[in-house]
Amino acid sequence: MILVESAGLLTTVQDLGRPGYGEMGVSACGAGDPVALRIANTLVGNRPGAAALEMTMIGGRYRFDIATVAAVTGAECPVRLNGAPAPQWAAFEVPAGGMIEVAVATAGARMYLAAAGGIDVPLALGSASTHLTAGIGGLDGRALRKGDRLALGIAERPALWRALRRETLARLGARKTLRVTAAPQTAWFTDEQRALLVSSAYRVTQEVNRLGLRLDGAPLACPGASNMITEGAALGTVQVPAGGQPIILFVEQQTTGGYPKIANVIAADLPSVGQLRPGDEVRFEWVGFETARALLREQESLMAHGELFAE
């Protein structure tokens, strides 16, 4: 059992999401940084997609009533166990009654706390992922609060006491230049506008959440915007509303949208979007679909045990 003594800014239970309900208007949801979630679970011996805590900017304090193994990954932040410094990106033992404190992120936006056995909550539409708009998944479909209690599942495998390879972690690290491919309306924008997207720096505004990230920078104009018919929107799409400031749709996105889409962040760079915080400067870089696929394949190969862990 985990007792929430302080829940930070926004802490939710997340796994790898619930694809398959787009027809009902339910986005797949899941962890904002699935790479960090998967590594945290792997470290404690869970399957990669087990449910864990996703903390945003400020971690919180979590007390464990039984001895277990935990790991904290994701955004850089000080971690303490019973007041003493604990490692990030490594499994550590938590004694019965132990308290893990995850402080304020110094870089990045989302931290993940996984514990052996995973967090045991009832599945909603096949997933433990908290969908805040729908009020489903996680703990009663909402963010955690002080005093909440979360059950832990039964550990299936022992934790991995091996160190993660630094160079692999560095290669998996969050990027500030997001690679993008064409989206359905890319051709509606002029060559100049498409060049502007990649030649300008965009600032992440305060309007950032699991639904999307509003950016601020060189405004983009789409001449045919009034012809737009609402259509399905892909995760990571860069849509351009009337004001011209782009919005990146994120994990709890609306499944359809009526704004023209100039670009779409590639799958391999979506975990990096989950680590953007207000004030960050982001840039975009055009890539082709083959390059996008190769980059995803490379990321997946880095997630293999042999690459992730030193001998």
Binding site: P19, G20, Y21, P184, I229
Partner: protein
């Protein structure tokens, strides 16, 4: 990079999504094709396609790019388009009880005044039509309903409300809808249903599904209170 096959236009939407356009205007024919394709994909899924997002005249398919590519997904869609029949035997009819006006329908009187009719007449027109669920989007379980009488077509509020209560029955432009959750919204709210529009622990979770026919039935405040009890 876009191509045509089996009477549909295909274009990559992302490195792991394909947009299939089944018309370039909002028409009943395009909707029929969307609904038929969605049914076909549910009955005969394309391997490695994890999600579909239908809309007015298109369907977005999300797939695993390490297992399948845009062209292969498109071929799977083309096969299913050719196999998909016309209208289904009998679309599902969903009846939605609505308590109109008062605190549940804060815009009822203003919309009636705008169209120079009594609120009672507005309710009569709104509840006598049969609507078609074009697709679900905006929020989980929110169905965009076509079929609103022309005489009730009303622009959205100039300033959206910060909070529209769950169950609110509303109209905007030529569309109708029911808010599944308390969300911000700019539609004109005419009443409220006691039914739960979306519940994850119910099968199906959504009260209204793609291509369902929907009818609104006026109920009294007392019937509303009894229904929620």
């Amino acid at each position: 990079m876009a191509w045509n096959m089996a009477g549909a236009d295909f274009a990559p939407a992302s490195d792991r999504a394909l947009l299939v356009s089944l018309g370039n205007r909002i028409t009943p024919e395009a909707h029929l094709r969307v609904a038929a394709l969605a049914r076909r994909l549910a009955a005969d899924p394309i391997p490695h396609v994890s999600n579909i997002h239908p809309a007015y005249c298109s369907v977005l398919l999300v797939f695993d790019p390490l297992r399948i590519d845009h062209e292969q997904v498109a071929e799977g869609v083309a096969e299913r388009l050719e196999a998909a029949g016309g209208a289904p035997a009998a679309p599902r009819m969903v009846e939605i009880p609505v308590c109109y006006g008062g605190e549940f329908g804060p815009d009822l009187e203003a919309v009636a005044a705008l169209h120079e009719m009594t609120p009672l007449r507005l309710v009569e027109i709104h509840s006598s039509a049969i609507y078609v669920a074009q697709f679900l989007g905006f929020a989980p379980g929110f169905a965009y309903l076509s079929g609103l009488a022309d005489e009730l077509a009303t622009p959205r509020l100039d300033t959206p409300r910060a909070k529209v209560p769950a169950g609110s029955v509303a109209i905007a432009g030529k569309q109708a809808g029911v808010y599944p959750f308390e969300t911000p919204g700019g539609w004109r709210v005419l009443g409220r249903t006691p039914l739960e529009v979306f519940r994850a622990d119910r099968a199906p979770a959504n009260l209204i599904g793609l291509d369902d026919r929907v009818r609104f039935r006026p109920i009294t405040r007392r019937q509303f209170e009894e229904a929620v009890r």
